[in-house]
């Protein structure tokens, strides 16, 4: 049940679809994105990139470039090596080249940087740098990469291309369950490499002020504090000490995880600015962004279900090979090199499960997890939801019935999964039944039978996903040792307005509004009066940033806790002002009232004013609080999506006719913003399901390195999204909220894949890997003797 808001629309606490406070500047074209920033004496940097996926660098000739008008310098790896800045750590404690000194290991890798007086001169300089390479064999297939005798991608690091092995669950118990199973269903599922492709690419303006010995970097980063600390650790030896580093995330044009990693371009810009004492602007163009920045997915999955013949799932076994490119530069919590992939038991009550993942180096860009995936939950949910559908079809059970039979039941929460997660709350049956009702499921199945009799191909696909977000409790989670708390600092001004700063960083999720609404909820101060700031490491409290849907669960909780500390102090001040005892005061949003005397009350505004003008003796003046929130658990949003597709037998084209998405993210702060997050996530689920793929040919050349071939859906390919909600609050979150930013990217692709396979099952088709292109479908149809 979606509860009624406790505050009025004027206050705008939880539940109000308040219009966004940040929109004013964006609709006027007055956003402040990195490329909008211009500093006096600013220089421009552009990057020379290699066409070879694997090669020795024989020589870099910079003479023509240095003779190009406007070009001031060309920086190579040898220049950085003098300062030991040619290598940097990755977030997974691997290392990565900033600029190479002897070898390149992916196509479009950064090879040299040109510094010039204008953007155009820098581009001319790049075109004039001549590099001689001696090509080496590319390493493209991750299976071959881990075979003995394979060309080594990282001889500097290991004498094998096998990076790590990781397991979760109980291997022996799972083997037993599989031995005892009535039947097993297995499938090989490949989820290919994709790229977030936010409309704004990555970039920075790095500005070292020699007089003040201070470095300021405006940067497209989702995690400014972590970047500051990493820069201090990496570059401390040249004099960049943490108190002298300021990272500012201005407005960011979409992140989706792609703006978490530290890219070589940032580091070179910082190094050059430090050496020259001038601001350096580096903005990558789209092809650089697609070809060199951190990717997502690239999981080769072998998954099996063990079942009883009545359709009860008894076990799950998953083996996976992860292609990490040339460095493990994923942004995962350190104990979880495969992220939260072991959520792969999904929404089902599975007694035994075992997950094993191996990672391989290949000559491709480093990475990855960057694409709205909640740390590999997209991969996990795709695997289990595809398997569930295959199992249902093999057993000739309706896929909805199969799911309803196997769902974890509401009374089982908190639920301990076979891979060790404790799900906080859920009601999977309610979500699926609502989705079925909204789409008129029974009628669709009737229509499907009629169409099938006429030879028309129509499919219905379900995805009932459980998400796992809000990383995370300090006993288990850290990134490079930094615990994954998050923070809020709230200060109330004398006139009862407020400023609230957080350790996260919105890239479009609407924190300036939703965080204000949290303060409004807890203190009754109108959200319109709460100024929210993020992203400036000089002023924001330390946080781990925004990704993996962690802002509401962690920083939002910190905001609530800080507001409650303020309320506690406000109670004391109110008691003093009202000459009552604290226990006799009742709180309603925005004021304390003496129990039984409704005319004796003080508003939060009056209390705030008193905090500066009439505070009790013995108490500090002011009204503010800081909270660093260590979540006791992750949160588990969930949902059920149902998709209807129609397939063109002649061309293989797949059209999504309808898509119903029922989401449950616990208590909702701003329904309008939550719906917007779901719409966007659904589109970024549709895209990998039908359109997006980055491939490498056998020579290591990227296919899909520009928008000509990396296909982002337009408004024409995107259906109208139909949404529904159930509300199952998180029992441990101060606001009962769970986070929702990535639910739809997680849940949508299997709904679409399941719909396509459902349309084709009667022809003998069990599985199709995404992206499900018209060509793939046509091939299947022709193999099965179907054509127009």
């Amino acid at each position: 049940m979606i509860q009624e808001p406790r505050t009025t629309p004027e206050v705008g606490g939880m539940g109000h679809s308040m219009k966004r406070k940040e929109d004013g500047r964006f609709i006027r074209g007055k956003g402040n994105y990195v490329d909008d920033i211009v500093l006096p004496d600013m220089l421009y940097m552009d990057i020379v990139r290699t066409p070879y996926p694997h090669a020795k660098i024989l020589n870099i000739d910079t003479s023509r470039a240095l003779a190009t008008p406007g070009v001031l310098a060309v920086i190579t790896g040898r220049d950085l090596e003098k300062y030991n800045l040619h290598m940097m750590p990755t977030l997974m404690s691997d290392t990565q080249m900033v600029l190479p000194t002897d070898r390149v290991v992916y196509q479009s890798q950064e090879v040299a940087a040109v510094i010039a007086t204008s953007r155009y001169a820098a581009a001319d300089g790049v075109a004039a740098v001549d590099v001689d390479y001696e090509p080496l064999p590319p390493v493209v297939d991750p299976y071959k990469a881990i075979e003995p005798g394979a060309t080594l991608v990282r001889p500097d690091r290991k004498d094998t291309n096998h990076i790590w092995h990781w397991e979760a669950g109980n291997k022996d118990a799972t083997e037993q369950v599989f031995r005892d199973a009535d039947l097993t269903v297995s499938e090989h599922i490949y989820i290919p490499r994709i790229h977030v492709a936010s409309i704004e690419t990555c970039g920075c303006v790095a500005s070292y002020d020699k007089a003040r010995e201070q470095l300021t970097v405006y940067m497209t980063t989702q995690a400014p504090h972590a970047v500051r600390t990493v820069v201090a650790l990496v570059a401390g030896h040249v004099g960049l000490s943490e108190e002298r580093i300021r990272i500012i995330s201005p407005d960011i044009g979409g992140g989706f995880g792609g703006k978490v990693p530290v890219y070589p371009g940032y580091v070179v810009a910082i190094a050059v600015s430090f050496l020259l004492g001038k601001p350096i602007k580096w903005i990558e163009d789209r092809m650089e962004n697609l070809q060199a920045d951190s990717f997502a997915r690239d999981y080769h999955i072998d998954a099996e279900l063990a079942l009883k013949k009545d359709g009860t799932i008894t076990g799950l076994r998953v083996k996976t090979l992860a292609d990490h490119g040339c460095a493990d530069a994923a942004a995962n919590p350190s104990k979880f090199p495969a992220g939260l992939y072991s959520i792969v038991t999904g929404s089902y009550d599975i007694g035994a499960a075992h997950v094993a993942v191996d990672a391989a180096y290949t000559t491709k860009p480093p990475g990855g997890v960057a694409y709205r995936c909640s740390f590999r939950v997209t991969e996990a949910v795709h695997a289990i939801e595809r398997l569930a559908d295959i199992a249902a079809h093999e057993l000739k059970m309706d896929p909805a019935e199969f799911r309803l039979k196997n769902f974890i039941k509401p009374e089982q929460f908190p639920y301990k999964s076979a891979t060790g997660w404790t799900y906080d709350s859920g009601n999977y049956k309610a979500a699926l039944e609502l989705a079925m009702q909204k789409i008129n499921y029974a009628e669709l199945r009737r229509e499907q039978l009629e169409k099938r009799a006429r030879g028309e191909l129509m499919g219905i696909g379900i995805s009932s996903f459980t998400e796992i977000v809000g990383a995370g409790p300090s006993h288990t989670f850290d990134i490079l040792g930094l615990k994954m708390f998050d923070s809020a600092e709230i200060r109330i001004h004398p006139t009862g307005k407020a400023i609230a700063r957080f350790g996260t960083k919105s890239q479009g999720q609407g924190h300036e509004t939703t965080y204000a609404q949290i303060v409004a909820e807890e203190l009754g101060i109108p959200a319109a009066h709460v100024q929210v700031e993020e992203g400036d490491t000089d002023t924001a409290p330390y946080g781990l940033g925004t990704y993996a849907s962690r802002s509401t669960p962690v920083a939002g909780a910190a905001g609530a806790m800080a507001a409650r500390k303020i309320r506690d102090k406000a109670r004391k001040i109110a008691a003093y002002l009202l000459e009552a005892s604290e226990e006799d005061l009742e709180w309603t949003p925005g004021k304390f009232t003496v129990r039984g005397s409704p005319d004796r009350s003080k508003t939060i505004q009056e209390i705030a004013f008193a905090a500066y003008t009439n505070h009790p003796q013995g108490m500090e003046a002011g009204l503010e609080a800081v909270s660093y929130y260590d979540p006791p658990n992750l949160t588990f949003p969930f949902g059920s999506y149902i998709c209807v597709v129609d397939i063109d037998k002649g061309t293989g084209d797949v059209k999504v006719r309808r898509f119903v998405a029922v989401d449950d993210c616990g208590n909702i702060i701003n329904p309008m913003i939550v719906d917007g997050q779901i719409h966007g996530g659904l589109a970024q689920g549709l895209a990998p399901a039908l359109f997006e793929e980055i491939q490498y040919d056998e020579n290591g050349n990227i296919q899909g390195g520009s928008f000509m071939d990396y296909l982002l859906p337009t408004a024409m390919e995107t259906p109208n999204w139909e949404l529904g909600k159930t509300v199952t609050p998180s029992p441990h979150h101060p606001l009962g909220a769970k986070g929702v930013g990535e639910s739809a990217t997680v849940g949508a692709p299997p709904a679409i894949a399941n719909a396509v396979v459902d349309a084709l099952w009667h022809l003998g088709v069990r599985h199709v890997d995404i992206p499900i292109t018209p060509f793939k479908v046509w091939k299947i149809l022709r193999e099965k003797g179907v054509s127009e």
Partner: protein, 177 residues
Amino acid sequence: MSTHNITVTVNGQTHSAEVESRLLLVHFIRENLRLTGTHIGCDTSHCGACTVIVDGRPVKSCTMFAVQADGRAVRTVEGLEVAGALHPVQAGFKEEHGLQCGYCTPGMMMTATALLESNTSPTEAEIRQAISGNLCRCTGYTNIVKAIQHAAATIRATKTETPARGVAPAGKSAATA
């Protein structure tokens, strides 16, 4: 002649400058004129973040040279608001949550503005068609369609009102830049 003197009217103001022939219009707007509301999102003319209106028609300003705009009238997002009154398209985007990160928004709004100047009652299909040259990664397009429908309704309502006391109804922007 690698450089040229050009005169371009932008949002009603005339600007003269000497520019390289290869200077892209989007860079002229963003860097010479410091109007940074028009954005760059790709290098193959697909994304539409750079969309402005030139002589009444939406154009991808990354696929045009500033010299081609000599003597022409350009409208950018900064010209939508007039005398402190938001254009109905801007109001529609705010009311219907038609933006999230805001990066595709100026280009999207310029396309929408031009659409509504030629058709005040577009169907949903016509709206989706009209914005099919503008990519968005955040919104999934549903609310963008609603935003444009909201703006269309405002414009239609304004057109049927009689202007009071000679003041142009809110939302009727200056005819052209």
